[in-house]
Amino acid sequence: MWKYLLKRVILMLITLFLIASLTFFLMKLIPGSPFSAASKLSESQLAIMNAKYGLDQPIPIQYANYMINILKGDLGISFQFNNTDVTQLIMNRVGPSATLGLQAMIFGTIFGIFLGVIAALRQNTWLDYGSTLVAVLGKSIPSFVFAAMLQYYIAVKLGLLPVAFWRGWEYSILPTIALSIFPISIAARFMRTEMVEVMGSDYITLARAKGASSFEVAFKHALRNALIPVITVLGPLAVSLMTGSLVVERVFAIPGLGEQFVKSIQVSDYPVIMGTTLLFAALFIFIILVVDILYSIIDPRIRLSGGKN
């Protein structure tokens, strides 16, 4: 177990290093100047700016500096947003994104599992078809279309919930729903198949024969075993939430990481783009690792490779 963990962590660090290098060199390849008013600057002014940001040094030295700074937790200085520290800029925005992501993840998986279980227990009834419909729609309709529709019909037309911004709990309801539609559909579909399979297994027949009530059979015996494989989709789901957060935060004007990222792309603020990219990548890799470990802890039948030695 420990050996496996160590191997995974080392692989994780290598991947992160690769991503950091990749972002650095790709950013160097981008044509044009990173300064917003470059065309208005004279030669000497540009030289001063370049010197200030260390852009006058040879690229290998810039690269080394960049890597050392990352290790120190310093992601550089934003070119566009008032010369703020990128680390600072990102940290200020983690809060809303984390809240939103967690809410969507929890609501999405629980509701999705619920839908899937109902569909499996009432196979081929309207409940089953309804839940399949939700799953197909949730998987197909792009999150930003869904978010915009929610915003227009529920917030603007009906006035039930706030239209945008981030000023309290009720502001997070619509974004959470918009973000969780994908987890709901994936969890529901997955849960239905697992549950149908488990409900047909011998030990469920035995539990029935013992005289356990159908509620007990479904929730005490079947659900627990059907839940195990669902953990495998949690990783990809968390990753999809990151993608979704970029657009959903933009639609609802939430001051989160995604919104900052989109804004930085639109004004070509490279240090912020690089910093956020690194953070996203690190989160992605970390989540996949955690899910793998969780899976092996919960299901003793699965042994991580190399675990025995």
């Binding site: 991947t15 915009a148 227009y152 639609v251 989109v262 990219t277």
Partner: protein, 343 residues
């Protein structure tokens, strides 16, 4: 109640059957090719068939739609800007959004056609520059589909070759090639796509390339698995014994046997590519004007959603329809080609 067993089961039924050796091998039903068999099974899936019809209709509209309304999608007419949708035969049906009126934010009904004395009918309205949205919408669908199909084709070519070579040659070649895939999979797709587009400048080709670069690994894995399963089966060995080259075995004998799996994978890649293209446009990395795709249309519509909701509505409906039909059709094909792969 009296039973009459002798009537229900006459004696003749219990006579020993005559086994005619010559008829044992007789095939009762006409033999079906792979495609006929698949089609028989897809046909039973109503959702897939409805999706197929809708999809053909959408693709047909993407090709023909831009010529139907009679307006050029790139001609700007300032005096015709932001006109709501109006269709001649449907304009008096109040619950349809085609009556040429708008509702302002304080609830008043606006009639820009009457106010500006415009005789023309813009079926899906016009945008802020007075361009016909009906034409632009179908042109956008064209571009979106083009990007999706191109990216998927690239995906397929790279993924299939990579997977086949990796699986067929095995050993060190295989493990080296698999490590590359592992590392690529460790990097989030989103990151690669965004970085690439920043470097390459947004355009049809760069978006296609970015989508293809991140997408092929799934296909490669699936194909590798299939090749590993098949390369030691009798037909492959027979071909090898007869002196066929490795490439010939891979492309003439192994690949035709996994057409089903490849098609299924492709069908799931297409909606994914459509989504990613629209997603990129929505975060400002999409096509640059005057090119329009579904994504850029949605982006523009979203900006004026409060005033002119119809500009967002139509592209949103079309992209949702495309995604739903592709997904349902892919599900149907998966069940038809390979019942074992049902989720």
């Amino acid at each position: 109640m009296v039973n009459h067993p002798e009537k229900r089961f006459p004696k003749e039924m219990f006579e020993p059957a005559q086994i005619d050796q010559s008829l044992i091998e007789k095939i009762e039903k006409p033999s079906l090719s792979f495609w006929q068999d698949a089609w028989l099974r897809v046909r039973k899936n109503k959702a897939a068939i409805v999706s197929l019809v809708l999809l053909i209709l959408l693709i047909f509209m993407a090709l023909v739609g831009p010529f139907l309304s009679g307006y050029d999608g790139e001609v700007q007419r300032a005096e015709h800007s932001n006109l709501p949708p109006r269709i001649a035969a449907l304009e008096n049906i109040s619950w349809l959004p085609f009556d040429g009126t708008l509702t302002s934010r304080n609830g008043d009904t606006l009639t820009p056609y009457e106010d500006k004395r415009i005789e023309e009918y813009y079926w899906f309205g016009t945008d802020g520059l007075g361009r016909d949205l009906f034409t632009r919408l179908w042109e956008g669908v064209q571009i979106s589909l083009l990007i999706a199909f191109l990216a998927t084709a690239l995906d397929m070519i790279v993924g299939v070759s990579y997977g086949a070579i990796s699986g067929y040659f095995g050993g060190r070649v295989d493990s080296a090639m698999q490590r590359v895939i592992e590392i690529l999979n460790g990097i989030p797709n989103l990151v690669i796509v965004i970085l690439l587009i920043l470097v390459l400048e947004p355009g049809i080709l760069s978006i296609t390339l970015a989508l293809a670069i991140t997408g092929w690994t799934t296909m490669a894995r699936v194909v590798r698995g299939q090749v590993l399963k098949m390369k030691n089966q009798e037909f492959a060995l027979a071909s090898k014994t007869l002196g066929a080259t490795d490439l010939r075995i891979i492309f003439r004998h192994l690949l035709p046997n996994m057409v089903g799996v490849i098609i299924i994978n492709t069908m799931f890649t297409i909606p994914n590519a459509i989504f990613f293209e629209a997603f990129l446009s929505f975060i400002g990395l999409g096509l640059q004007p005057p090119d329009a795709s579904l994504g850029t249309l949605i982006e523009e519509g979203f900006k004026v959603m409060l005033l002119y909701p119809y500009q967002l509505l139509f592209p949103s409906i079309v992209i949702s329809l495309l995604m739903i039909t592709f997904n349902l059709l892919a599900d149907g094909l998966r069940d038809a080609f390979d019942p074992k792969m049902r989720d």
